[in-house]
Each structure stands twice: as structure tokens, then as C-alpha cells.
């Protein structure tokens, strides 16, 4: 069964996400039956898959969801907040179980409470079950009229038979089987009576067996064979009847055994699901491909170098072509790793809804650019910081409805989540129309925490004050609430974003709201870097953090309180000599002017003093591995064209 599990998990997740989305929409448009259909369909598919995989709890929960949805569909139940809540709870439980299965557990969970709740909902407005039969068995005999019919038919060579059919114990849809049996028998002649009556057969209110009376020219064997041809029929007994009475000669139309209620099936899939040809490939394979390709990139650099040294024209040309092709390949492989941010954004509607209900606020979440693509690794990492920021906006940003009315704003707060491409970056913005950041509160808190002095606070611009929010151990919530005041401040968010090579900033207007902007790199594993020489070693500085390179005259290096500083565009920035930081062996060449790489993080700039610039190159970031642990100011290593290893500098770390 293992081979199925991956497919099962994939499809289950997709369906759960669809359920989620549709329930959210349903809450807004409770009368949209197409949505019910969609949810029903997903729940239904889930049930089928789970039952096959023998995940009984998932199956029973989805089954009960289906019942509730079916009642809604048939107009017996109206969509209420309670129903939406219960459906969400059920979906959450399903997600948990599916994830548990994904983690190699058995996917069992006590769902009786949830099932009970759904059952109650279903029963709430649902009338008593459909036609309950009194169970009284009729006499298996023909009445006068039927006898008359039989007698009449007999004259034309049709003989009456009594057919007793027993269905197998595990037969699931007895009425349908009964219908099929009736149909099979009906093809051989005319059915004049059934016991129990046709309506009861249709309703399924009979035990395993039922009796048919058939007028037919066929033999016992033929009838037996025809009826046994229906699946799940365990036993068939065909007895020719002897008519006792002479019957009146009365024509009569025969009651129809089968109800012919033809219900138009609702167009289930109205959503125009555009079909592009895709195949599923496991992530591992793409990662493997990426890894192999990285090796290739390294070899490519090496090959370029060798070809250059050899001076062989043909070789150089070939290598150049290889380089071009592999650049294109790189592009494609990177694209394969791209996923729409939707993956992360998807969970927010429900989260915001939940938070809003908990805090008794009214919030409308507006998501734009969910289709924006980013590298998978970045997407996986960026989820938590976004959760944090959204919680923050819902909890601290958007005010309670009463407060909003007082401030002359609509009761319903607005939270916008946007993603878009900007050059080599992806921007994600979280904007609310809440109270904005209270400068005074931030100031006093910062002073209280010893981050700044009162005097400093007065001189700071608004933006600088807001930036204090990202300092370690900072929280302005009036009281520690369940939602965001868990002592984990925005500094954690900032650290996470920066470790992804991103930048976070905040803008705010009092009374109008605030906006957090996150800038993230498109991909993490292959980056453009400036190679620099420091004594005998080569280092790589990621281009993303470089502002510019300068040849600095020895004379313009200043000494301030024992620290080396330089003039940089009307400000003074510190200088850091890499040979000292990394304790590089060897000696630096004597030179009149010092090559300096100016790096930037937020507003901070620092000059890194190196021995010489080598040039720009695509490098593949390889982690140092766990045995080396965290090395100060080094984010990884890469292998150069000449086979040497170059360390990649984490410029951010050198700023502090």
C-alpha cells in the first residue's frame, strides 16, 4: 500500500485546501449551491480514498461532513455560522490526520465528538428519516387482480413465477440491487408484484431478501440465470406458480416497479479548471537534479578557466556554448523549484477568520498576487514570519469595531496581503487600516528597555522609532494576549527574514494603519557574488548586500576612538579589515590605495577592506555542514573554477 501513500497525501492535501477555500467563500455567499457541490465533491473523494486506505477516522468524519452538506444541498438545512465553524473544525481535524499519516503515523484520531456535532447539525432541521416502513410483511401471494392478470397471460403462453432473491450480507446499496434484479427479470416478461412493495424496495427498507412475481415465457433456468447475473445476489429461488382461481378478464395497466425520477445532475465542475499538461515529480528528484546541476556549475567555471588557460580556440568556443546552454538549464531548473506563494497564503484566510472571531473584531482579508512564484525553500521558511506579522496586525493593528466607529472608520477592518515581483526580488506586503503604530508608546517602551535614552528619542524620526520594533525583546501590546504577545517580538521575524537574505521594513501613519514590507531573494542556492582576494584566500561577497566598490586612498582612512572609519557620501562609516576578522595567514601587498567593498544592511553601511577584487561570478551556496556549526560571518562555501574553496561572507554579521 506504500506506493499509494504519497499520491494519497498529495491529493488529500489538495482537496483539503479546496474545502478550506470553498468554505470560506461559502461563508460569504451562503446560498451558492455550486460551492456546496465543490465541498461535497472534495469531501467525497477524500472519503473514498481514506476508506480504501483504511483510515477509518478520516472516512467517518468526511462521511458525516457529506451528510451535512447533502442536507444543505437538498435545502433541508441552511448555512449558518455554526455549520461553517463545524466544517472548519472537521477540516482541521482532517488536516491533522492527513499530516499525521504523512509523518508516518497511523492517522487515527478520536473524531466521535466532531462526528456527533455534525450529526446534531444534520438532525437539527432534518425531518425524521425517509419513509419508515412498519416492517409488516405482506403475504407473498397474488391478489385477485393480479391473479386475473396472470390467468390472462397464461393463455398467451406467459407463466407466473415466484422469484425469491437473497442479497449478500455486505451488499451496500440494496435498493439499487433490487432495481437491477427487477430490471433483469423484467426483461424476460412482466413483473406483476413485489414483496415488499416497490416503494419499500426503493427505500431499501427490507432485509436481505425480497420476492418478485413474474409473468414470463422463459424457463426456470433462464430466469435463474438472468437474476443471478446481477452482482451481490447470493441466492435465487425460482418457483413456477399454480393459479388456483379463475380470474376475471380485466385489462389493467401494471404498476411500474421502478420509479422513474430522473434528476438533472447539477453541473458539478462549473469552475473552468484549465488543464495544462503536468506531471507530478517528487521534490526529492528536483532537489537531486538541483544538486547535480550545482556540481555542473562548479565544473563549468573550472572548464571555463582551463579553456582560457589552454588558449585552444575550438575548446574555448565549445566551452562557451556549454556555458550558454547550462545557463538556460539553470533557469529552467530554478523555475521548477518555484512555487506560487499561494502555498503559504492559503492558510491565512482561515487563520484571520479564526483570530477575528476570537478577538471579536471584524476583518476582511484581501489577498493579491498569490500566484507570484518563489523558490520553494524561501516559501517554506517565510511562512512563520508571515503568520507572526499577520497576527500582529490583527491583534495590535486593527481596532475593535466600536473603536473603529468612533474613529470614523468602517466597522470592518481591512487587512491586505500582497506579493509581487520586483527585479530579482519578491516583495510581500502586509497592510492594515488599523490604528497605526503609536510612536509615543514605542518610544517610552524603548527607553524603558534601555534601547535608547529619552534625549535620543526626541531626535529620532518616526521611521527610526518604528524600527525599534524590530529590536530584541520588544512588544507594545497593552497586555499579553493569546494571539501575539507571547514575548516573541518582531526581532525574531527580522532575524528570520534576514537569514533568508531578505529585508523587512515598516511604514505607518497614526490612525490610518501600518504596512510591513518584506523583500526576499528569488532563490537561495545559486547567487551572484563578487570574488575578492584577502592575502592567500578568496572570499565571495553576495552581490545583494554590496552597494559599491571603492579604491580608498590610505590617507582618507580615519581613526576614531581606535576604530578605522572612512568618509562615504557625507557620512562616516566603519571599516572592517577582513584579514583581521578572519585571521588570514600570509601577507598583504603594499599598495597606495585600499580596495574596499561597501556593504549595506538596512540603513547601516560598512566598508570591508580586502586586498584585491577578482570579479563577479555565479556561485553555488553550499552549507558548511553541521560539524562546523555556525562560523562567525560566514554563510557557506562554494567551489571555484580552479577547484579552490571560497567562503561566502555573511555581510550582515559584520555590521554589528
Amino acid at each position: 500500500m506504500n506506493q499509494y501513500t504519497a499520491v494519497f497525501l498529495d491529493e488529500s492535501r489538495e482537496h483539503l485546501q479546496a474545502v478550506n477555500d470553498h468554505i470560506l467563500k461559502l461563508e460569504k455567499e451562503p446560498h451558492e449551491l455550486a460551492l456546496i457541490e465543490e465541498i461535497f465533491r472534495s469531501a467525497h473523494t477524500l472519503k473514498g480514498m481514506a476508506a480504501t486506505m483504511e483510515f477509518a477516522d478520516i472516512a467517518s468524519l468526511t462521511h458525516q461532513m457529506e451528510n451535512v452538506l447533502d442536507s444543505i444541498r437538498r435545502g433541508q438545512l441552511a448555512v449558518s455560522t455554526e455549520i461553517i465553524d463545524s466544517l472548519f473544525l472537521a477540516t482541521e481535524a482532517l488536516e491533522e490526520m492527513v499530516e499525521a499519516i504523512g509523518a508516518g503515523q497511523d492517522g487515527k484520531k478520536d473524531v466521535t465528538a466532531l462526528v456527533g456535532r455534525l450529526e446534531q447539525l444534520e438532525a437539527g432541521e432534518d425531518g425524521p428519516g425517509a419513509s419508515q416502513s412498519d416492517g409488516e410483511q405482506e403475504q407473498p401471494a397474488l391478489d385477485e387482480l393480479q391473479t386475473a392478470m396472470a390467468a390472462e397471460a397464461e393463455k398467451e403462453g406467459f407463466f407466473p413465477y415466484q422469484i425469491t432473491v437473497t442479497l449478500s450480507d455486505d451488499c451496500v446499496m440494496k435498493p439499487v440491487r433490487a432495481y437491477m434484479v427487477s430490471q433483469a427479470a423484467g426483461e424476460l416478461g412482466e413483473l406483476i408484484k413485489t414483496v415488499p412493495a416497490a416503494e419499500e424496495l426503493e427505500a431499501g427498507t427490507f432485509d436481505a431478501s425480497f420476492i418478485l412475481f413474474l409473468l414470463s415465457q422463459a424457463t426456470v433456468e433462464e430466469i435463474h440465470d438472468a437474476v443471478s447475473g446481477v452482482s451481490e445476489v447470493m441466492q435465487v429461488e425460482v418457483i413456477p406458480l399454480k393459479l388456483t382461481d379463475k380470474a376475471a378478464n380485466e385489462e389493467n395497466s401494471q404498476e411500474e416497479t421502478a420509479a422513474t425520477q430522473v434528476e438533472e445532475e447539477a453541473p458539478a465542475g462549473q469552475s473552468a479548471t484549465r488543464k495544462s499538461k503536468t506531471i507530478r515529480v517528487s521534490l526529492e528528484r528536483i532537489d537531486d537534479l538541483m544538486n547535480l546541476f550545482e556540481e555542473l556549475v562548479i565544473d563549468r567555471s573550472r572548464l571555463e578557466e582551463l579553456a582560457r588557460l589552454s588558449g585552444n580556440n575550438d575548446l574555448e568556443e565549445t566551452v562557451e556554448h556549454v556555458s550558454r546552454v547550462s545557463s538556460e538549464m539553470q533557469e529552467i531548473i530554478l523555475q521548477m523549484r518555484m512555487m506560487p506563494v499561494e502555498q503559504v497564503f492559503n492558510r491565512f484566510p482561515r487563520m484571520v477568520r479564526g483570530l477575528a472571531r476570537e478577538l471579536e473584531k471584524e476583518i476582511e482579508l484581501d489577498i493579491a498576487g498569490a500566484e507570484t512564484e518563489m523558490d520553494r525553500t524561501v516559501i517554506e521558511e517565510v511562512g512563520d514570519p508571515l503568520v507572526h506579522l499577520i497576527r500582529n496586525s490583527v491583534d495590535h493593528g486593527i481596532e475593535a469595531p466600536a473603536e473603529r466607529l468612533q474613529a470614523g472608520k468602517p466597522e470592518k477592518g481591512k487587512l491586505s496581503l500582497r506579493a509581487y515581483h520586483s527585479g530579482n526580488h519578491v516583495m510581500i506586503e502586509i497592510e492594515d487600516d488599523g490604528a497605526g503604530i503609536n510612536r509615543n508608546k514605542v518610544e517610552s517602551k524603548a527607553v524603558e528597555n534601555g534601547l535608547i535614552t529619552t534625549e535620543q528619542a526626541q531626535d529620532l524620526a518616526d521611521e527610526d522609532v518604528y524600527k525599534l520594533l524590530f529590536s530584541a525583546g520588544f512588544s507594545t501590546a497593552d497586555e499579553v494576549s493569546d494571539i501575539s504577545g507571547r514575548g516573541v517580538g518582531l526581532d525574531v521575524v527580522r532575524n528570520k527574514i534576514e537569514s533568508l537574505g531578505g529585508i523587512i521594513s515598516v511604514a505607518s501613519a497614526p490612525g490610518k494603519g501600518s504596512k510591513f514590507s518584506i523583500q526576499l531573494p528569488l532563490t537561495l542556492s545559486i547567487l551572484s557574488a563578487l570574488l575578492v582576494k584577502v592575502r592567500d584566500e578568496t572570499y565571495a561577497v553576495p552581490l545583494t548586500s554590496i552597494v559599491e566598490t571603492i579604491l580608498l586612498e590610505e590617507a582618507s582612512i580615519m581613526d576614531v576612538h581606535g576604530r578605522k572609519m572612512m568618509d562615504y557620501r557625507d557620512t562616516v562609516i566603519p571599516l572592517v579589515a577582513l584579514r583581521e576578522v578572519f585571521d588570514v595567514p600570509g601577507s598583504s601587498p603594499e599598495q597606495k590605495s585600499q580596495p574596499v567593498v561597501v556593504v549595506q544592511k538596512g540603513e547601516k553601511r560598512t566598508g570591508l577592506v580586502v586586498d584585491s577584487f577578482i570579479g563577479q561570478q555565479e556561485v553555488v551556496l553550499k552549507s558548511l555542514g553541521s560539524y562546523l556549526g555556525d562560523v562567525f560571518a560566514i554563510s557557506g562555501a562554494t567551489i571555484l573554477g580552479d577547484g579552490q574553496v571560497a567562503l561566502i561572507i555573511d555581510a550582515n554579521a559584520l555590521m554589528n
Binding site: 499509494y4 476508506a51 445532475e265
Partner: protein, 118 residues
């Protein structure tokens, strides 16, 4: 041995049916993930047997049975239903489906249905 077209919107289900049917010695000549594709493929492949899920996007199983029957009254179709779809199954049977199986499937039940229909 019969040629079979498997119809289900869940790849998982198709995979399972395919497995069971192949083990029973049949040949899966095609797969369709919705009713519309099933109609197209049945015309194209003319399989001995078609398995048909009921709830599918684009075109559901019942409608697909009607369509297929319209073009090929002799088509042999087995419905694959889940519990609680009695009405739909009945409709499908009335529309001309030969048999039905209820999820979760057992190999025995599938074997019975296929043998009886063929």
C-alpha cells in the same frame, strides 16, 4: 482478458483500480479523469469495459454514461460509487450502466462485477 478504460478524478483511485484489474488479467487501455474525457476516450479506444466514478468535475459519471450509451448502446459500464450515492447509482443503472461497485473496493467484488458484466 478484456480491455478496460478507467475513469476517476482521483489518480489514487485510478491507480488502485488499475492495479486490481491488471492483477485479474485485464488490460487497462486508457484512463480518464472526468466524464468528458471518458466519453472521448471510449469512442477512441472502444474498450470492452469502462469503470466510471460518479462525482467528477466537468462531467459527472451519470451524464457520461448517458453520453457514451448514446453513441454506443452496447458499451459496458461499471459505476464506482461511494456510500450514500444511491440515487446517482440508480440513475446510472437506469441510464444503462451494467453494474456498480462501492468504495472501498475489494478485489473480489471487482472481480465479480467484471466477470458478470463481461
Amino acid at each position: 482478458m478484456a480491455t478496460i478504460l478507467v475513469t476517476d478524478d482521483a489518480a489514487f483511485m485510478r491507480m488502485q483500480l488499475k492495479d486490481i484489474l491488471t492483477k485479474l488479467g485485464h488490460e487497462i487501455v486508457g484512463e480518464a479523469e472526468n466524464g468528458r474525457l471518458a466519453v472521448e476516450k471510449s469512442a477512441e479506444l472502444n474498450p470492452d469495459l469502462i469503470t466510471m466514478d460518479i462525482t467528477m468535475p466537468e462531467m459527472g459519471g451519470v451524464e457520461a454514461v448517458r453520453e457514451i450509451k448514446k453513441h454506443n448502446p452496447d458499451a459496458k459500464i461499471i459505476m464506482c460509487s461511494a456510500m450514500g450515492q444511491q440515487g446517482m447509482v440508480l440513475e446510472a443503472i437506469q441510464a444503462g450502466a451494467k453494474d456498480f461497485i462501492v468504495k472501498p473496493f475489494t478485489a473480489e467484488r471487482i472481480e465479480e462485477a467484471v466477470t458478470k458484466v463481461l
